[in-house]
């Protein structure tokens, strides 16, 4: 067939396809990298941009972070789509290991939550006591934004409400709203509606759309947020890159990794406090 206009067209299309496809095709599943399921708040804190290059320099391994809510991150690992998990919900993590999806859980570091609210503080929540603050917010009926997305932050928020005497599942305070969203969008909503919101310090420090929001409660022991790392169990998912993933777990709890965590600062302020082995 010498019908060149048709074949030329089809040929060009095929060539274009092959080139662009191969260009967009980096390494497949083989290669010196691991996939880590972590949380959006950890990624948005900027920690990974600081920590992972240090890890790569030390071991030559790339870490590809898929940032999701804690619940989603653990589900992703359960399905075998990640090699290692790095989240901050101790109860959920222990269940993950107990169900056989993860090898040993290693504590790595903690950061803290803060209660954010309008600087004018209509509910008079300011102070050092998170539980008292929440009781005042509930009593005043002031607007409160909850992430409502089964994340580690959401789980912590529900625990504080319970300690304050409110079971969110049954009775929500007037002004309580769930957005089913990440930390950033929740802060956005709080900024535009003058609401109170529980946030992790890392996302808050990086958040640029503050309007007149301010930190109202911090320093309460109960506000500390513990992070744990778990290698996904190769018994459940044989393709998991166990050696490389274990390499990360071992490094992040080692003195070098812990020092790198402590060195990460925003505006001179340390965000995460290493506590491996404690």
């Amino acid at each position: 067939m010498d019908l060149n206009f048709l074949t030329l067209r089809r040929g060009a299309l095929a060539l274009l396809g092959t080139i662009t496809l191969s260009a967009g095709l980096p390494v497949l599943a083989q290669g010196n990298f691991i996939v880590m399921a972590s949380t959006t708040s950890t990624e948005q804190s900027g920690l990974f941009g600081h920590l992972l290059p240090a890890f790569k320099a030390a071991t030559g391994t790339d870490v590809r972070v898929v940032a999701l809510g804690t619940g989603q991150a653990l589900d992703t690992a359960r399905r075998g789509d990640a090699d290692i998990v790095f989240v901050h919900d101790q109860a959920a993590e222990e269940k993950f290991v107990a169900d056989g999806f993860g090898l040993k859980r290693l504590p790595v570091m903690y950061n803290d939550f803060v209660l954010i609210g309008p600087a004018a503080d209509p509910a008079k929540a300011r102070g050092k006591d998170i539980v008292a603050a929440l009781q005042k917010v509930a009593a005043s009926g002031a607007p409160f934004v909850s992430r409502g997305d089964k994340s580690g932050t959401h789980a912590a928020e529900l625990r504080y409400w319970k300690t304050a005497g409110t079971d969110i599942a049954t009775t929500k305070p007037a002004g309580y709203k769930e957005c089913g969203c990440g930390m950033g969008p929740a802060l956005n909503i709080a900024a535009s509606t003058g609401a109170y919101v529980l946030a992790d310090r890392g996302t808050w420090l990086n958040f640029k759309n503050r309007a007149d929001l301010a930190v109202l409660v911090e320093g309460d022991n109960r506000l500390f947020n513990q992070y744990g790392v778990m290698v996904v169990n190769p018994a459940k998912h044989p393709h998991v890159k166990q050696a490389l993933a274990q390499g990360f777990a071992d490094w992040v709890v080692s003195p070098a990794g812990q020092a790198s965590i402590a060195a990460y600062k925003i505006g001179g302020e340390q965000l995460f406090f290493p506590n491996a082995g404690k």
Binding site: M1, D2, L3, F5
Partner: protein
């Protein structure tokens, strides 16, 4: 039917024949009980009022339609080509359009160049070979369609009102070419509203009325006999002023 002596008739075996053929579109009968033969040397004018089935008959003869009843027989796989009132040309050059026709007709690659040039020369479009086919005038486009037909060397050329959309000078050019093709040995089957054209170009006339073939006569007989079927006679009377 054609009045030829039996010996000659035996030699000129029909290229194409219809036997009691009919075409139905749903409940409507577009053609009924058509029996006719097409032979080499035939230059047939197909006439009849609008809606009488001329286009359907042409499509049936060319094999674009299958008969709903009766049969269509082709002897020796005759090569056919067809011209439409408005030629459909692809958005490519004149040359490319011809190459496509040659490729579709499975002409061997070695012959295509020669046939292409010959066809362009025949219709006088050599200068336009690389122009976009759609930029040609109406008459030139129809000449290109004729070149397309010439290139595949058909045994039978079907034409559906080929000059109806053309201005008078283009009409003359196209008629001259059709005449030329007929002289070169192509059988022609041409539907037309123009009885003068029928007289000029044809040696045989088929008259269709409401899907039935009412007359199949040599051209002189059709125009001068007094014992035509009444519909045909009326048709001639009504149409003659338009010559």
């Amino acid at each position: 039917m054609t009045g030829l002596p039996p010996a000659v008739a035996a030699v000129a075996a029909p290229l194409l024949a219809l036997q009691g053929a009919g075409v139905h579109f749903g409940a409507q009968a577009a053609l009924r009980d058509i029996t006719l033969q097409i032979r080499r040397g035939d230059r047939i004018a197909l006439v009849g009022a609008n809606g009488s089935g001329k286009t359907t008959l042409l499509r049936l003869l060319n094999g674009l339609l299958a008969p709903s009843s009766g049969s269509r027989l082709a002897t020796g796989a005759p090569v056919t080509a067809m011209l439409f009132q408005r030629p459909f040309l692809l958005h490519f050059s004149v040359r490319r359009n011809l190459q496509l026709a040659l490729w579709l007709a499975r002409v061997p690659a070695a012959q295509r160049g020669v046939r292409l040039d010959d066809a362009l020369r025949r219709v006088g479009l050599q200068a336009m070979a690389d122009r976009p086919a759609r930029s040609l005038s109406g008459g030139q486009q129809q000449r290109l369609a004729l070149a397309r037909a010439w290139a595949v060397q058909p045994d039978i050329l079907f034409l559906d009102e080929p000059t109806a959309s053309l201005d008078p000078s283009a009409k003359r050019e196209v008629e001259a070419l059709i005449d030329d093709f007929g002289h070169a040995g192509m059988a022609l089957v041409m539907s037309t509203h123009n009885l003068g054209q029928a007289k000029r170009l044809a040696n045989r006339v088929l008259y269709l009325d409401a899907g039935r073939l009412l007359a199949d006569l040599p051209v002189d007989d059709f125009f001068h006999r007094t014992d035509l079927p009444p519909e045909a006679a009326q048709f001639l009377k009504g149409e003659l002023p338009w010559t």
